[in-house]
Every structure is written in structure tokens, then in C-alpha cells.
């Protein structure tokens, strides 16, 4: 392998006088699962949104499989911003899963999954629907094809949202606190599901508060604090033997609040 699948360099973003991201650099290799943790307001979500340009960063670069998205260094050394059209073309390389699912409420489950590939990738409806049905079956949602999102539980909605992103056949998946809007008893169901996805070899970047999940599933953990990468490394090392005092404090607080979801038992 010559280059990482995702390369983030010197990413910076401010909102007015508030600096969300100071200078963020990290890489994700193909097949790797990286969890991003950190206190509220540390810039985790902003970072994820800047990676696929839902939020435009002020500085730095994002490369997916060697291709720049958004800001691009020109041959003359000046930074050029790609057109919206170009950015739209590149976005499907990354699947994005939201905390609030963000399904399209006026479309059936099947349409939610099929619309992207049909509209954006111009793939034939028949093939796309076959793929969508297969995804639903794999996600334990067979029979829900014609249901509207309002008829689904939170966990089901999130699985549909993940299926919608996967239907575009992305190179990697970005998850923005995928379980934070779920009822506690459903969190585990979705986490087990994410673990399965990770086991299938999907490259994943997950912003999460589920430290137990990060410990069991992530290859690497990145701890953000104050818009900077405060600590990163293999999950066991970062979570088991944290060096950064802020990370220690953060982990202690998390453990006080809730016992992490038990993921030691396989799902099947």
C-alpha cells in the first residue's frame, strides 16, 4: 500500500471567533476502524463534517485514496477550491451516517436506499433495488421496504441510514455519534451491527461516546481536545494507558456516567 485511504492534513475550522479545529492531521488505512473520542465541543463532529465538506474547512486538506476533495493544492503552490460539482462527485466515496439518522421522511425505506445510487450514480433502478433489498435483508429489515421512516424504531432508522450510505458503495464510512440519539436498550443492537460491518472489512471513522465499543472494535483511537489531536494510538493503549491528563480525566468521567455497552459477546 502506497498511501492511506483517508489522509487529513492540518485541517482547521473556525466559526466566527470560536475555533473548532486548530490543526488536525491523521491517516486511516484501508480496512482500519478509527474511533474519534473527546469531550463535548472538542470539534469531533466538525472534524467529521469537514472531511466530506458538509462543513467547509478554512484550512488544510482531505485526501481520499490520493484524491483531494474540496481544497486542493495547485501546481503553483496556491490552494484552489474545487467547484461544488466536483465536490458533489467526490462525496459518494465517503458514506456519512448521522446522529439523527436524517432519513427522508417522505420516501419509503426502499426509496431512501435506492434514490442515491439511481440519482447520483445513474445506476439502473432494477439493479439498485436488488442491492437495496439485499442490504435490508442483511440488516434484519426484510419486509420493511415499503414502510415510511416514521413507522420505524430508532435502531431500525439508523440501520436504514447505514444501508443508504452503503448502497453508494463508498470507500469508507463516517459515523457521527451513530448511537447518541438511540434509546439505551437499542444502542447495543446498533453497536453490534457496526462491529459486524467493521469485521466485514469496511474502513470506518466513528465519532462516539461509547468507550467500550471503541475498546473492542476500533483499531485506533484518536482523542480530540481543544481542536487538536491530543492523543492517538492503538485502542488498547490509548484507552488502557492514557498519557494525556485531559484524556485521563475524560475517561474517568465517562466511566462514572455509564458502564460501557458489553460487546464481548458476539452477535451470532
Amino acid at each position: 500500500m502506497t498511501h492511506p485511504l483517508l489522509k487529513v492534513s492540518n485541517l482547521a475550522k473556525s466559526f466566527g471567533t470560536m475555533t473548532a479545529l486548530r490543526d488536525i492531521s491523521f491517516e486511516v488505512a484501508a480496512g482500519e476502524v478509527v474511533c474519534i473520542i473527546g469531550p463535548s465541543g472538542c470539534g469531533k463532529s466538525t472534524l467529521l463534517r469537514c472531511i466530506n465538506y458538509l462543513t467547509f474547512p478554512d484550512g488544510g486538506f482531505v485526501e481520499v485514496d490520493g484524491t483531494h476533495i474540496g481544497r486542493e493544492p495547485g501546481r503553483d503552490g496556491k490552494v484552489r477550491m474545487q467547484s461544488h460539482k466536483r465536490i458533489d462527485q467526490l462525496r459518494p466515496m465517503m458514506g456519512f451516517v448521522f446522529q439523527q439518522f436524517n432519513l427522508w421522511p417522505h420516501m419509503t425505506v426502499l426509496e431512501n436506499i435506492a434514490r442515491g445510487p439511481i440519482k447520483v450514480q445513474r445506476r439502473p433502478r432494477e439493479e439498485v433495488e436488488r442491492q437495496a433489498r439485499a442490504l435490508l435483508a442483511r440488516f434484519g429489515l426484510a419486509g420493511k421496504e415499503d414502510a415510511y421512516p416514521s413507522a420505524l424504531s430508532g435502531g431500525q432508522k439508523q440501520r436504514v441510514a447505514i444501508a443508504r450510505a452503503l448502497a453508494m458503495e463508498p470507500r469508507l464510512m463516517l459515523f457521527d455519534e451513530p448511537t447518541s440519539a438511540l434509546d439505551p436498550e437499542i444502542v447495543k443492537e446498533v453497536l453490534l451491527f457496526l462491529r459486524e460491518l467493521a469485521d466485514s472489512g469496511m474502513t470506518m471513522v466513528i465519532v462516539t461516546h461509547e468507550i467500550g465499543f471503541a475498546r473492542h472494535v476500533a483499531d485506533r483511537v484518536i482523542f480530540l481536545d481543544g481542536g487538536l489531536v491530543a492523543e492517538q494510538g492503538p485502542a488498547r493503549q490509548v484507552l488502557g494507558d492514557p498519557q494525556n491528563p485531559r484524556l485521563r480525566e475524560f475517561l474517568a468521567q465517562i466511566h462514572e456516567v455509564a458502564a460501557p455497552a458489553d460487546l464481548s459477546t458476539p452477535s451470532h
Binding site: N52, L54, H84, K85, D88, Q89, L90, R91, P92, M94, G95, F96, F98, Q100, F101, N102, L103, W104, P105, H106, M107, R115, G116, K119, V120, Y148, P149, S150, A151, A161, R164, A165, M168
Partner: protein, 219 residues
């Protein structure tokens, strides 16, 4: 009180065909108003200062003047500008413009209360802005604003009666003609009111049905 039931009943056979004129005018104006309201709404989100400023002036003018005056302005004004319009055409345009303004205001309110999440999901999938409007924002918006929208459509039907002042022979003008020959204005006008009310009842019932049908898709 002396109410002539016979004259009341006799008015209907002449009013019902006239109602067809109101219905045609109303449907034409509704279609144009929906298109106009939607276009104005989209234009107002562009953030182009001159454009949104001009639309703002138009909105406050239309909201601040009586629709009856607007109808006269279209009837006398457009031919003066060289547009050769029939009274019905001028009337449809006047009502449609008036209603587009109210519809765009309803739509703006609806937009403001809408969850930006589904739009972000579409952006993340690489869906182009135009498709996001036609496939994600507008369908949700229409479902959302259906109740006030139906209300506005009934206002359009009521507005069609105002075209009687620019010689359009619709329900109200027909009722006046009946009254002129029978000398029974109350009977003819009450019959006219019932005919227009029936039209609006049908529209609001239809609206309620659509609302029920789309309830699951409101999210």
C-alpha cells in the same frame, strides 16, 4: 320576512354553469400561484441581495393593497402595457400573483421549521442542489404546509367572485343578473353563496384527505 323559495331554487340552474367559470379561474390561478409561490421561495433562498430585496418590495406591496385594487390594476394596467388580455386572463393573473405572495410566505415559514438533517444527508450522498430542491425539500415542504396551503386555495376560490367587477360572468355576476330580472337579490345572492361554499367545501375535504394520506410521510 319574505323569502321566495321558488326564486331561490330557480337561481341554481343558472348559477351552476357559472360556477364552472369560477372553478376554471380558480384552478388556473391555483396552478400559477403554486408555481409562482415555489419559484419565489427558491429565489428568496439564493441570498442575492437585489433579488430578495425586489421580492420583499413586491410582497409588502401585494400584502398592503386590497386584492380588488390589484384586480383593477391588472385589468386596466396590462392592456395599457400592450398586453391584450381577456378579463378572465387578467383576473387569473391578478389572483395568481396575489396568492403566490401568500403561498411564498407560508412556504418560508414551513422552511424555517424544517429539519435540515435530510438535506444534509442528500448533500453527503453527492445529490446536486437542484435535485435536493425537487426531491427532498419541496416534497417535504408541501406535505408540511398542506393545511395553510388548502386555506389559501379556498381564498383563491373566494377571490374568483371579485372578478365580477371586471365583467367576468361568474357566479356572483350571474346572481346579480338574476336579481336584476327577478328583483329578488337576497335569494339569488344566497344561492350564489351556497354554490361558492360548496366549491370550497370540496376543496377543503380534498385537502383533508390528502393530509391523511400523507400523514405517514410527514416524519
Amino acid at each position: 320576512m319574505d323569502f321566495d323559495l321558488l326564486a331561490f331554487g330557480d337561481a341554481f340552474p343558472r348559477l351552476l354553469p357559472a360556477a364552472l367559470t369560477n372553478l376554471t379561474i380558480a384552478l388556473g390561478a391555483m396552478l400559477l400561484a403554486l408555481i409562482g409561490g415555489t419559484v419565489l421561495t427558491v429565489l428568496r433562498t439564493t441570498g442575492i441581495g437585489l433579488l430578495t430585496g425586489a421580492i420583499g418590495v413586491l410582497i409588502s406591496f401585494i400584502r398592503g393593497t386590497p386584492i380588488l385594487v390589484q384586480i383593477f390594476l391588472f385589468y386596466y394596467g396590462l392592456p395599457a402595457l400592450g398586453l391584450d388580455l381577456t378579463p378572465i386572463q387578467a383576473g387569473v393573473l391578478a389572483i395568481a400573483l396575489n396568492s403566490s405572495i401568500f403561498i411564498t410566505e407560508i412556504m418560508r415559514g414551513g422552511l424555517a421549521g424544517m429539519d435540515p438533517g435530510p438535506v444534509e444527508a442528500a448533500i453527503a450522498l453527492g445529490v446536486r442542489a437542484r435535485t435536493i430542491w425537487t426531491r427532498v425539500i419541496l416534497p417535504q415542504l408541501y406535505i408540511r404546509i398542506l393545511p395553510p396551503l388548502v386555506n389559501e386555495l379556498t381564498t383563491i376560490v373566494k377571490g374568483t367572485a371579485l372578478l365580477s367587477v371586471i365583467t367576468v360572468v361568474e357566479v356572483l355576476r350571474t346572481a346579480q343578473q338574476i336579481a336584476n330580472t327577478t328583483f329578488r337579490p337576497l335569494e339569488a345572492l344566497l344561492a350564489a353563496a351556497i354554490v361558492l361554499f360548496a366549491l370550497n367545501l370540496a376543496i377543503s375535504q380534498l385537502g383533508r384527505r390528502i393530509e391523511t394520506r400523507f400523514a405517514a410521510r410527514r416524519g
